[in-house]
Structures are given as structure tokens and as C-alpha cells.
């Protein structure tokens, strides 16, 4: 019986080996084009890929051009980037972004993990209902969330101060001073993004086979031991993805700040996004703002690389 040309001439084992052992460099394209399925897949993804490259590449190249020129279009080399180093407002915004991420990301991860464990446990009852309720903050836009929290933080009319006044304590004027405004913003952000951590970690937990816990129980492992040695390694990749996404979300937030503090008091709650927005659309210096955009991208990239290295790759080494 002749083998049709469009069907792989290799056995299943051969094909598996071909995937495991990458072909020689010069043969990659030949290898891809050898199989009909690959060719069809390539034909289907190429248009989207081209569109994606165009859509992504153009803004990146344009941003690069903006950085190297001033508002009058004159080439100025790296002057925009070097100017950032002495810009105290930029430095303040950068520090604020990092401070906020340092607080918001771990708290949201812990909260998300706790909720995921709770919903996965036998105590949760109708899980679908709980999940639907818990992810509501994800569906609320930043501006709406910020406005809602601003009302809740109102010193006399807001709900947040009710427990304090019931306890006979002085109400806190949350948004008036820099320290309390920072805490207030962190609370809003945790409320807003911890459901994302919950969803991702819940999905990760659902991939842990239940029988390993039964085996561990037979071996006499405590719940804590089983959680630490079995659950955590399983969800570690999802944990690292959640960490990266939460970091990105918390550092790029702008609507929440616009609706709650408008960057105040003074400039105490300016983060990088707010700085870039103001520099670009209020102070009309898009070229200089682009330099800050690159710094923000680099910051996200470096943080992402660190998270992947220490959270994800480490699992392979174990």
C-alpha cells in the first residue's frame, strides 16, 4: 500500500522523537513544511501573525523614534532618557509604583490563594455561585471602582469609617494625607486584582490530582506537609503567571488613581502611568513621556524575568 504524500511517513515513535529532538538548524523550515497539517496551520496563523507584528512593531518603533527626538522633531539622541535621571517627579512616581506593587502583589496573591483553597475545599458548597461573586471586581472598570471607593472613603459619609466610629475611634480622612492615601489605594487595588489571582490559582489547583493527597495521607503526611510539598510545586507555574500579571496590573493602574486621589495630595500618589499620562496629554511632552514608557516596559520586563526565574524555572530544578 502506498503512503499518501500528505500523511506523515514516520511512525508515531519517530514523530515523537522528531518533536523531542529538534531538527538541525538548517532543516527547521523543511521539517515544518514536510507535513500538511503544519502547512495548513502556518497558512492560518500567518495573516494574524503579520497583523500582530504590524500592530505591535509600529508603536514600538514609533516610541523609539519619539524618545530620540524632541517635541519639534529634532534628533536629540538619548537626552530624553538622561533627563529622566534627574527628574525628581519621575523618580517619585517610579518609587510609588514599586512600593505599591510590593504591597499589592503579595497581599493579592495570598488572598487569592486563600480563596482558591477555600473554594476548592469541601466546605465551599456551590462553587459556581462563589466564583461568580468573587470575580465581580474584575468586571468593574477602574474608574467605576475608584469612584465607588472614593465615596466609601468619604470621612463622614463613607462606609469604611463606620466600623471605626462604632468603636468610638476618630474617623480617618483616608485620602487627605500621603500615608493614608497610599494605604487606601493599596486596598482598592487588592480588591480589584486579587480576584485575578484567585481565578488563576484556582485553575492551577484544579490541575493537582486528588489521588496524590490520598497517597500522602496513607503515608502519614500532615495537611500542611501535603500543601507545601505537593500543592505548591504543582501550582508554581500558575503562581508565577499570576505574579507577573498582578505586577503589571498594579503598576499600570491609572483609572483608580484618577478617580480616587487624582494623584494627590500634592503628587503623593503619582505612579508611572499617571506621570506618563500627565506628561503626554497635559504637559504635551509625548517625546519625553515615551522615555518614561520605555523605563516602565523595562521595569515590567525585568520583574517578569525575575519572577519566571525564581518561581517557575526553580520547579524544574527540584
Amino acid at each position: 500500500m502506498s503512503v499518501p504524500q500528505d500523511i506523515s511517513p514516520m511512525s508515531g515513535a519517530d514523530a515523537h522523537r522528531a518533536h523531542v529532538q529538534p531538527p538541525a538548524r538548517e532543516g527547521i523550515w523543511a521539517e515544518i513544511f514536510r507535513y500538511r497539517d503544519n502547512r495548513v496551520a502556518l497558512a492560518l496563523i500567518v495573516p494574524s501573525l503579520l497583523a500582530l507584528i504590524l500592530v505591535q512593531l509600529y508603536p514600538i518603533l514609533y516610541t523609539g523614534w519619539l524618545i530620540l527626538t524632541n517635541e519639534k522633531g529634532v534628533f536629540i539622541g538619548l537626552a530624553n532618557l538622561t533627563r529622566l535621571t534627574s527628574d525628581t517627579i519621575f523618580r517619585g512616581a517610579l518609587i510609588f509604583s514599586l512600593k505599591m506593587a510590593i504591597v499589592v502583589v503579595p497581599v493579592s496573591l495570598l488572598l487569592g490563594l486563600g480563596l482558591a483553597l477555600l473554594i476548592r475545599s469541601e466546605y465551599a458548597g456551590r462553587k459556581a455561585i462563589w466564583i461568580s461573586i468573587l470575580i465581580i471586581p474584575l468586571m468593574v472598570s477602574e474608574i467605576v471602582a475608584g469612584t465607588m471607593w472614593k465615596i466609601m472613603y468619604h470621612p463622614t459619609l463613607g462606609l469604611v469609617n463606620v466600623p471605626l466610629t462604632l468603636l468610638g475611634l476618630e474617623p480617618i480622612i483616608w485620602l487627605m494625607k500621603a500615608n493614608t492615601a497610599f494605604i487606601a489605594l493599596c486596598i482598592v487595588e487588592v480588591w480589584r486584582i486579587s480576584p485575578l489571582a484567585f481565578l488563576l490559582l484556582y485553575a492551577g489547583l484544579n490541575q493537582v490530582p486528588r489521588d496524590i493527597y490520598e497517597a500522602a495521607a496513607v503515608d502519614g503526611a500532615t495537611r500542611w506537609r501535603a500543601f507545601w510539598d505537593m500543592t505548591i510545586p504543582y501550582i508554581r507555574p500558575m503562581f508565577s503567571i499570576a505574579t507577573i500579571l498582578l505586577f503589571v496590573w498594579s503598576t499600570r493602574t491609572i483609572g483608580t488613581i484618577a478617580a480616587t486621589t487624582a494623584g494627590g495630595p500634592g503628587r503623593a500618589t503619582w505612579n508611572l502611568s499617571w506621570y506618563i499620562y500627565g506628561m503626554s496629554f497635559q504637559r504635551l511632552k509625548p517625546h519625553y513621556a515615551s522615555a518614561a514608557v520605555i523605563v516602565m516596559l523595562l521595569m515590567t520586563y525585568i520583574a517578569g524575568a525575575i519572577f519566571v526565574k525564581y518561581l517557575w524555572v526553580e520547579r524544574k530544578q527540584r
Binding site: R39, L175, K177, A178
Partner: protein
């Protein structure tokens, strides 16, 4: 054969994608007929848009020209105007613009010279300053280098909303406590101190503010005789009058509601209509209609409106302008139809009156003083009075909006929070504005 098949699939997909990105076809000859023209107007949401929308059917009936109004969220409207200028977009035939944006609009090539192109003239029923603010190059005041062209100053927009920032105060409490309306800022301080009672039930606050608004800081600055630039465009914010304005605010901030330094318009209005605030600065278009709305306000009929208090007895009550005007977009494909709309809205007294009845702020003397309107909008005569002082306009620089939002606003907020003294805020803001203007010639 398979290769041809694959190439055909890819070509088809690319064609579909590219056709989706294609610009719409140009209007055909039939579409360009005047009776089928639709002019598009971009404006801010709220009373500005309401007034325009209310008059669309009448305009269509009289001219056969359709009008599509696109109300834009106020917070991002300036960005949109800047984007239109940067992209030289003809997306909107008319831009209903705030007067401080005129430098950005003219510098961005968005505005048609209405005198040159259509012979626009000044109507005697409209105060001169309402035309001056929309004339270009600026007829007087500090003018940046690029705008000192020596060309005659001509109209580049027609005023439709003659807004001026004003001062409001609780008349009933003034009467109850035996005070006259404040003539000077010293009077304001005295009244605020006398009535401020944060521990009362309900609390009552001596002064109210939009604590993050650079425009409120600017209004204080003008009313005390300060400014941002002198006639040579040197920064003078940190001179004696400028620092006096921010120091005055430092003193007034003792009488603010808690957290007042973070208030926007909504919170400022809420304090007034719930009867918890004595007085403050406010834009009539934003706030005063809410104050006088009997359905929601506890203070309807209890307010006194006036131009801003003066720096000293006998000094002028200088307020700040916030006019809105119709700009004919230089990139519009329907310029003639758009001009018809501008003419129809601006030069007809009845249309201006209808616009004010629909929620807009007048720009004609006859409309400001219309007895029917004054019954529901009791601040109109005082607003006209403020307009005749005359008020100041914001600097004719492309950087003016940024200075207000990103430099003065944060400084104002920091003073309100007690994080900075007025003196520190004015020195810091002065230095920041100097840096901001380094190398800027427009």
C-alpha cells in the same frame, strides 16, 4: 496545486483584513448635496452638549442640514482635541472648545480664521472680551514668541457659552449672622472663621473648594492681582501677589471640610446642596444649577452669587474666564455647512436664548439679563457683572493647561493637605513653570 491553494487562502485572508482596515469611500456627488450634509460636532458631556442637542431639530428644520453631536467625557476631552490636532483630523466639522485650548487649537492648525474666510463680525450684544478670547493672535496680554506674528488679531471661534468662575455664599446664613456679602478676601476669612463648626451636628464648614483644581488656584491668583507670566512671558507666579494667593488658600484651608483638598466638583457640590458649606469658588456651569435644583438641594433660593472678592477694598473683582466657543475645523469637508451652523447659533438672539433655556450659559447681554431665565438661574446677572470687570483669561500658551493641571493643581492640593505652606507652594510652582517653559516658544 497545494501551494496555489495555500497562497490563495492566505491572499484571501489578507484581502479580507486589509479591506476591513480600508477608509470609507469618499462621498459621492449625491451625498455632497447640501440637503444631505450632516455636520459633526464634538463637545464635552453635560449642559454644553444638552444645549446643542436641544436645538438640532430647529436647525434642521430651518436649513436642512443635519447635526450629529458627540458628547465626550470631560476628563478626556482635552486629550481628544490634542489628538485631533496632532493627526490633522477632519473627523469633526466643529469643535466646541474651552477658551484655554485656543493656543493648542490654532497652533495645531485646527481653526479656520472666521473673519478671513467668512467675514465674521462682532455683535454689539456680546461683550468684547468674549470675542477677544477667541481672537488670534491674542489681542493683548502675554504672548509667546511663536504667536507674535504681527498679523491682525482675528476671530478663530465664536463664543457660545460665556462662562466666568464666580463666588457663591449662603445668603441666609449671612443674614442670620449679620454679615454683608464679602467684598474682599479678608472678609471671606472673617466670615469663614465665624461660621466654621466642624463639631456641630450636622457639621458646617466655613469654606469649600475643589481641592485638586488648578483652575481654582488660578482664580485666586487673578483675584489677588497675581499672574503666571508678565508681558515678556517671564514667570511671575512666585512674586508677592502670587505667593499671597497661595498663602491665602493656606489660611482658608483651615475651614475646609475634612479631605476637602481631594474634592472634585461632585464632592464640592455635595457639601453645598446638603447645607454643610458656607462659600467658595465655583464654575456656574458645573455647580450652580445643582445648587438651585429644588428636588435635590437644601439650599435652593438661599445662595448669593457674585464676582470673586477683591484683593483690597475698592480693588476690582477680577474673576477668570472659561468661555466655550465653536471652532470651525480647518480639516472639515463641510466647512460651508458648518459655518451656517456657527452663524445660526451665534448671531441669532432667539437661538442664543433657546440655548440658555436648554441648560447652556449665555454669552449675550440680553440673554444674561432675561427675566425669565433669571428666575431659574439667579446667578446670571452677577455673572454678566463679572464678565464686564473684565475677568482674566488663562495664558495664551500651549502649555497653559498642563501648568494648571500638573503644576498648580498638585501645589494647591498639597497646601490644602497642610503638606506645604503657601509660600513653599508658590516658590516650587514658580520654579517648575520656569523649567516647563524652558525652550518653549508657543
Amino acid at each position: 496545486m497545494r501551494k496555489i491553494y495555500l497562497v490563495a487562502i492566505m491572499a484571501l485572508l489578507m484581502a479580507v483584513m486589509l479591506s476591513a482596515c480600508q477608509a470609507p469611500p469618499p462621498p459621492t456627488a449625491a451625498e455632497a448635496e447640501p440637503e444631505d450634509v450632516t455636520i459633526s460636532i464634538i463637545t464635552a458631556q453635560g449642559p454644553l452638549a444638552d444645549g446643542l442637542v436641544a436645538l438640532i431639530p430647529q436647525f434642521y428644520e430651518e436649513t436642512g442640514i443635519k447635526v450629529a453631536v458627540t458628547p465626550f467625557p470631560w476628563t478626556t476631552f482635552f486629550e481628544k482635541v490634542i489628538s485631533l490636532a496632532r493627526t490633522r483630523s477632519g473627523e469633526f466639522d466643529i469643535i466646541f472648545a474651552d477658551d484655554p485650548w485656543m493656543p493648542n487649537i490654532v497652533d495645531g492648525g485646527l481653526a479656520v480664521n472666521l473673519e478671513e474666510a467668512y467675514g465674521a463680525t462682532r455683535d454689539p450684544d456680546v461683550p468684547d472680551i468674549s470675542y477677544d478670547v477667541f481672537s488670534w493672535p491674542p489681542p493683548y496680554g502675554p504672548i509667546p514668541q511663536d504667536f507674535q506674528t504681527g498679523e491682525p488679531s482675528q476671530l478663530h471661534a465664536l463664543p457660545i457659552q460665556g462662562n466666568v468662575i464666580m463666588f457663591y455664599v449662603r445668603k441666609d446664613i449671612l443674614d442670620e449672622r449679620g454679615f454683608a456679602p464679602p467684598e474682599t478676601w479678608d472678609d471671606v476669612l472673617k466670615i469663614a472663621e465665624a461660621v466654621h463648626c466642624p463639631d456641630c451636628d450636622p457639621p458646617f464648614y466655613g469654606y469649600n473648594v475643589r481641592g485638586t483644581a488648578g483652575s481654582d488656584a488660578l482664580a485666586l491668583l487673578w483675584s489677588l492681582g497675581g499672574g503666571i507670566f508678565d508681558d515678556e512671558f517671564n514667570v511671575i507666579l512666585d512674586n508677592e501677589a502670587g505667593c499671597a494667593a497661595l498663602t491665602l488658600y493656606e489660611r482658608l484651608s483651615k475651614y475646609l471640610p475634612p479631605g476637602g483638598n481631594t474634592y472634585g466638583t461632585t464632592e464640592m457640590v455635595a457639601e453645598v446642596i446638603s447645607g454643610r458649606a458656607m462659600m467658595g469658588i465655583g464654575w456656574p456651569g458645573d455647580a450652580y444649577a445643582a445648587f438651585e435644583d429644588e428636588r435635590d438641594s437644601d439650599v435652593a433660593g438661599k445662595m448669593h452669587y457674585m464676582p470673586l472678592p477683591a484683593a483690597s477694598p475698592g480693588a476690582p473683582h477680577v474673576s477668570m474666564m472659561g468661555h466655550w466657543g465653536l471652532v470651525l475645523n480647518a480639516h472639515s469637508k463641510n466647512k460651508d455647512a458648518a459655518w451656517k451652523y456657527l452663524e445660526w447659533m451665534h448671531y441669532n438672539q432667539q437661538h442664543a436664548l433657546d440655548y440658555a433655556h436648554a441648560g447652556g450659559i449665555p454669552f449675550r447681554e440680553s440673554v444674561f439679563n432675561d427675566p425669565d431665565l433669571i428666575e431659574t438661574k439667579p446667578w446670571f446677572p452677577a455673572q454678566f457683572e463679572a464678565l464686564m470687570v473684565p475677568p482674566k483669561w488663562r495664558p495664551r500658551s500651549t502649555q497653559a493647561t498642563g501648568i494648571s493641571l500638573a503644576i498648580l493643581g498638585p501645589a494647591f492640593s498639597a497646601v490644602g493637605a497642610g503638606d506645604m505652606t503657601g509660600e513653599e507652594a508658590c516658590q516650587q510652582s514658580g520654579a517648575e513653570i520656569r523649567m516647563e517653559m524652558e525652550g518653549v516658544t508657543n
